[in-house]
Amino acid sequence: MIRLVNIRKVFNAGRHNEFTAIEDVSLTIEQGRVTVFNGPSGSGKTTLLSIIGCMARPTAGRIWLEDREITSLPERFLTSIRRGTYGFIFQHFNLVRGISALENAMLPAFPTGQSRKSLVQKAGRLFSIFGIADRAESRVEWLSGGEQQRVAIARALINDPAIIIADEPTAHLDTKLSEEFIGIFKLLRDDGKTVIISSHDPVVCDSPIVDRVISIRDGRLQ
């Protein structure tokens, strides 16, 4: 369970291009549910996601993850929490070019010291679940958009995180692929994972599997 209290995020504080991305956001994200942040681009969704996902620290306010306050944890510890608790799926997939799909999926687990063999097995299993086992050794540049996305999802799941965060996941997908994607998220939710999505795509926001929709505009909740 994630709790945010009076979160405020300001970029370039004190300089001429000072910009407040998020203003006075307080909310609680329930465990095991699918939550969607709905809002136009520039509304602060991405910033909010990166704060929830321990990628950035808020300028003011406090955050609790379960019972632990993580607001001012040093970057070092924030990262290890992030690695174990969260799995990220980025809008542009952000896969590393030049290496295979399998290698990409295993990357987040490299610093944890698990043996390569066990990681190959884990990734292989995930690839099978998502139907891309035959593309495991291909370079990511040669995969289609849908295949790349599944690799990105597998990568997000390699460390078996409790929370999945997806930023505009259907932005580059047509309707059919979008619906397949939502199907995958249903799987994750049924598995007990908490899913947080940011999207302004109605296919996502109006989907029956979504438990809660939070609207954001200009850095504030509606």
């Binding site: 620290r57 808020p58 300028t59 003011a60 001012s72 040093p74």
Partner: protein, 330 residues
């Protein structure tokens, strides 16, 4: 100056090390003043990132200092033929001012840098950087000492003059140096070797006590430091003649050579390593009594004590074997 490549290497590396440490202490100075773990500001983030830089640099400095220590002794060893009467490194170090002083300061920097790394490691383990001030104050102490080391080494190396043939008279008239005895001057008169086995015994006993009861680590650190001094002097005056099987040859450097199976390396590495980890255990214990370190500290301390004890035992074993199996009968 003897324009030997190794001398150039030593001068160059000490300048590099000095610059790196001084650069880090500049950052350290800012850090000590502006650090505030509770603030989430940009500045704090920058400072946290800086700590990575300083840790990395000091890690390398420690490694370089260690290698440079050996290079220094090797060079002294290699150049001994340049000086009338010098039989080994000991002679070379005597041939100029500050030869031995440089060695002592190098050893000091080695220990301080090693301690810094251990304390910094402990600091990084806790989630709120509890020892950050201590760590950077220690850095500010180390920095001027590296400058002193560089200065002393430079004076020594730059003023070394080989005893070579000058114009018509040969070295007979140009060098008035009497044959330099291979023994290290200050150690000769002391009879510290009598304390060797008691000192080692105390270290082992106190170490076991710390492992069992979790207390007394500071005393352990003190015993280690004392054992270090006693051991070094004993190696020079008492043990090395057994290794050389020659009662008059009391030299700390020749045991590093191939003809003695490089025994010197094992001796010195185990002794230095044991002392460093022992003192590290004491430091970690001293700082880790409160706050976020309290849970993590005991494990770290035990590991350090264990390494220290192993090292001292290896040292003791090698010393005992060298003496028992030597052909020299006292």
């Amino acid at each position: 100056m003897i324009l030997h490549p190794a001398i150039i290497a030593l001068l160059l590396s000490s300048i590099i090390i000095c610059l790196m440490v001084v650069y880090c202490s500049y950052h350290g100075w800012i850090l000590v003043r502006k650090w505030d773990i509770t603030s989430g500001s940009e500045l704090q983030l920058q400072l946290e990132r800086r700590t990575y830089l300083v840790s990395t640099v000091l890690g390398y400095v420690f490694a370089f200092e260690l290698v440079s220590l050996f290079l220094y002794i090797f060079t002294a060893e290699n150049l001994h033929s340049m000086f009338v009467g010098a039989m080994c490194a000991a002679g070379t170090l005597n041939a100029g001012d500050f030869g031995y002083s440089t060695l002592l300061v190098k050893i000091l920097v080695f220990f301080l840098a090693g301690l810094w790394l251990i304390i910094n490691h402990a600091n990084n383990k806790a989630h709120d950087y509890p020892l950050i001030k201590q760590v950077y104050v220690l850095l500010l102490v180390i920095a001027p000492i590296t400058v002193v080391e560089m200065v002393l080494q430079s004076i020594y190396l730059l003023h070394l003059r080989a005893d070579v043939i000058t114009s018509c008279c040969g070295s007979l008239f140009s060098s008035s140096a009497a044959a330099v005895s291979p023994s290290v001057p200050f150690a000769a008169g002391l009879r510290l070797h009598l304390l060797l086995w008691p000192a080692l015994f105390l270290v082992v006993v106190q170490g076991a006590f710390v492992l069992a009861k979790g207390r007394g680590a500071s005393v352990f650190a003190l015993f280690c430091a004392a054992a270090f001094v006693v051991s070094i002097v004993s190696v020079i005056t008492y043990i090395s003649p057994y290794i050389y099987e020659l009662p008059t040859h009391a030299c700390p450097f020749c045991i590093l050579q191939a003809e003695y199976n490089y025994r010197g390396y094992v001796l010195y590495v185990s002794l230095f390593g044991g002392t460093l980890t022992g003192m590290g255990a004491g430091a970690v214990d001293f700082f880790g009594q409160t706050g976020s370190l309290r849970e993590i500290m005991p494990r770290l301390r035990s590991r350090l004590v264990l390494i220290s004890l192993t090292a001292f035992l290896v040292f003791a074993l090698l010393v005992a074997c060298s003496m028992v199996f030597s052909n020299l009968k006292s």
